[in-house]
């Protein structure tokens, strides 16, 4: 046996000296030292709900459902890019964003479920289409990379403004989820803005596609900023904010990037939306059919 070998755990009895072989310099400076980190996880929310430490009001639960569904449907969409992105590096980048969104979805749904004794999975897999509360924007197909970037751009700037304010929610759980999410979404803003600049300022083809992407996506922007009775009640209670109150910042910040990219805000009529009332795009049915098929084949099963 080579003296450098040492046992590794978890991989049977083949010794390799993983640590030794990688040591290029002092071991403590390793660029492969990994840790799980320390942050609020969906499992923590679920535990708080289960143990009765956190329990949303009916209104807050309904609101959390909206945010959770937005993030869940987007994660479902983004997940499709993994193994199909324009370059391998982007497979990983989009995967990270999808995982962030899925994490937010799980936290919001776990919390929402507390009001009705339901788990994140009950809500994700066993609600019917009209019971979902996602806005149409999140349901839009990936299209080409430019469409996905256009959607990401709108979503991330919207979510950033939203979560930024929700960190001050009077509902401690909403505030905590938002505090974790806002940092991640901040990076999503950067990712999409970088790509907007590159696609708009790259080649003639990429510019044409970027403009087209925004044209396809922009009709669904309006729905994000519509107030209704629920958001008004919650805003008054300090648990949430009126969506309309985010609009000015959204317009200003997206406007700055679009200007830098030499793009106009698309002049397209707004679609009526309706996702918050359970009236969805044609796309959602397909998304749910695929997402739920297996879970519904085995009701009550655990995975």
């Amino acid at each position: 046996m080579n003296p450098e070998t040492q046992e590794t755990t978890g991989h049977g009895d083949i010794s390799v000296g993983v640590a030794g072989a990688g040591a290029s310099g002092d071991g403590s400076a390793s660029a492969t030292r990994i840790t799980p980190g320390n942050a609020l996880r969906p499992e923590d929310i679920a535990l708080e709900v289960r143990t009765g430490l956190a329990r949303p009001t009916e209104d807050v639960a309904e609101y959390a459902l909206r945010l959770g569904d937005d993030a869940l449907i987007l994660a479902q969409r983004l997940g499709h890019w993994i193994s199909r992105a324009p370059e391998l590096e982007e497979d990983v980048a989009l995967g990270n964003i999808a995982l962030d969104q899925l994490g937010h979805a799980r936290s919001f749904l776990s919390y929402a479920g507390g009001a009705w004794d339901k788990s994140e999975d009950d809500l994700a897999y066993f609600r019917r289409e009209h019971e979902f509360r996602s806005a149409h924007l999140f349901e839009q197909p990936n299209g080409d990379f430019a469409v996905t970037i256009a959607r990401q751009f709108v979503v991330s700037y919207y979510q950033f403004e939203l979560y930024r304010r929700l960190t001050e929610s009077t509902d401690a759980t909403i505030a905590a989820i938002a505090a974790k999410a806002v940092k991640e979404v901040d990076y999503h803003r950067d990712h999409s803005a970088q790509w907007v600049l590159r696609l708009a300022g790259g080649t003639d083809e990429s510019r044409r596609r970027m403009i087209n992407g925004f044209k396809l996506i922009w009709p669904y922007v309006g729905e994000l900023f519509v107030d209704d009775a629920l958001t008004t009640r919650l805003a008054e209670a300090g648990a949430a904010v009126e969506p309309s109150s985010l609009k000015a910042d959204f317009d200003r910040l997206t406007g700055e990037v679009l200007k830098e990219a030499g793009l106009e805000v698309p002049d397209v009529p707004a679609a009526p939306g309706g996702g918050r009332r359970g009236q969805h795009s044609e796309h959602l049915g397909y998304i749910l059919a695929e997402m739920q098929v297996l879970a519904r084949e085995h009701p009550g099963a655990s995975w």
Binding site: N2, E4, T8, G10, H11, G12, D13, I14, V16, G17, V18, G20, A21, G22, A23, T32, I34, P42, A75, G79, I82, S83, R84, A85, P86, E87, L88, E89, E90, D91, V92, G95, N96, A98, L99, L102, R106, E120, D121, A124, Y125, D144, F145, R198, L199, G201, G202, T203, E205, S206, R209, E290, M291, V293, L294, A295, H298, A301, S302, W303
Partner: protein, 341 residues
């Protein structure tokens, strides 16, 4: 520790130096070879700019690029199930797992690039059908339990193969493998736990798990490559300290581990001939269908064309994006030059 090996400078001959004008090529080769041989004898590492025999470079390039291709193509059978994962937790795990495989492909392409071939060229070879990748990824992932079986058996076999590769004599390859092995450690476990959950679940779930194990067991054993007496390149790879254990040796160890683990799962291996040979102190398994292996490797597997087509499509669909970003970067550089002027 490896550092000891890497720094055994005092005992080493002076490395070959800059050639003097008029020196014969033959002498250059001979000195380079002598240096290379010393590195091998010391079980030290060869780094990208070192002299190396052309055959060593070629073998490594082939092995590392095939390995990279396998990671990338290997994403597909699992990526297909991300959208249908039966719980959100499993969806997150699977997404992270498939994403890791993209990273593995990347690390390995980078290692291969240090040998003088561009990733772009390797990708072209792959989608042109000129390159090989692990034939197991040409089998279809038919049920959710396949996510379990792939993690447990396929990643499990891959880990068995890869852990010794952390000590491969080519520095960049070994370093890529170190990072990969660290990341792999959750892949096999998540697969195992999928199966465990299914096995302890409803009869339909348990049936699904057993069926998946039945289908992936033999292909997983064949991942270690042909039997030693039919593996002509193995000897050279071992002499070059690329490979540390023979195909059959690794396969036998792997079988031993699976025998233990399948009991915990409450499932069975589809192999009535598995046994521990007290004389050889090795695990033995039933016959494998090497004909099928060769067929699949030659392109006649269930999913070969589908896998390649998907990769080709992603690459082609992404061309305008890559071009846009490259063009944008060039424009920025020009702008800066103008500004400076």
């Amino acid at each position: 520790m490896a550092a000891q090996n890497l720094q055994s400078v005092p005992d080493q001959p002076a490395a070959p130096q800059e050639a003097n004008a008029g020196q014969g090529q033959g002498q250059l080769e001979a000195d380079g070879q002598a240096y290379f041989d010393r590195v091998m004898a010391d079980d030290s590492r060869i780094e990208p700019k070192d002299w190396m025999p052309a055959a060593y470079r070629k073998t490594l390039l082939r092995q590392i690029s095939q390995h990279a291709h396998s990671e990338i193509i290997g994403m597909q059978p699992e990526a297909n199930w991300i959208s249908r994962a039966p719980s959100l937790k499993r969806k997150a795990i699977l997404m992270a797992k498939v994403q890791d495989e993209a990273g593995h492909g990347l690390y390995l392409y980078s290692a291969a690039e240090t040998l003088g071939q561009s990733r772009d060229q390797m990708m072209d070879d792959l989608i042109a059908g000129k390159a090989r990748y692990s034939s197991i990824f040409n089998y279809p992932a038919l049920t959710w339990a396949d996510m379990g079986a792939i993690g447990w058996l396929v990643d499990g076999a891959a880990i068995c193969n890869q852990v010794p590769l952390c000590r491969a004599s080519y520095g960049p390859y070994g370093r890529a493998m170190v990072r990969i092995c660290k990341e792999e450690s959750f892949h096999q476990r998540q697969g195992f736990e999928i199966l465990l959950e299914l096995s302890n679940g409803t009869p339909a779930q348990k049936q699904m798990a057993q069926d998946a194990v039945n289908r992936w067991y033999a292909p997983a054993l064949m991942m270690f490559g042909p039997p030693d007496d039919d593996s002509p390149n193995s000897k050279q790879s071992m002499a070059w300290n690329i490979k540390r254990f023979s195909n059959d040796e690794l396969r036998s160890r792997f079988v031993g581990m699976m025998v233990e683990q399948v009991r915990v799962l409450g499932l069975t291996l589809p192999d009535s001939e598995v046994r521990f040979n007290e004389d050889t102190r090795k695990w033995e398994h039933g016959p494998l269908d090497w004909n099928e292996f060769k067929e699949v490797l030659a392109g006649r597997g269930p999913c070969n064309s589908q896998r390649l087509e998907r990769r080709r499509q992603a690459h082609d669909d992404g061309a305008w994006v890559r071009e846009a970003a490259a063009s944008y970067a060039a424009k920025q550089v020009n702008k800066q030059k103008e500004y400076a002027a």
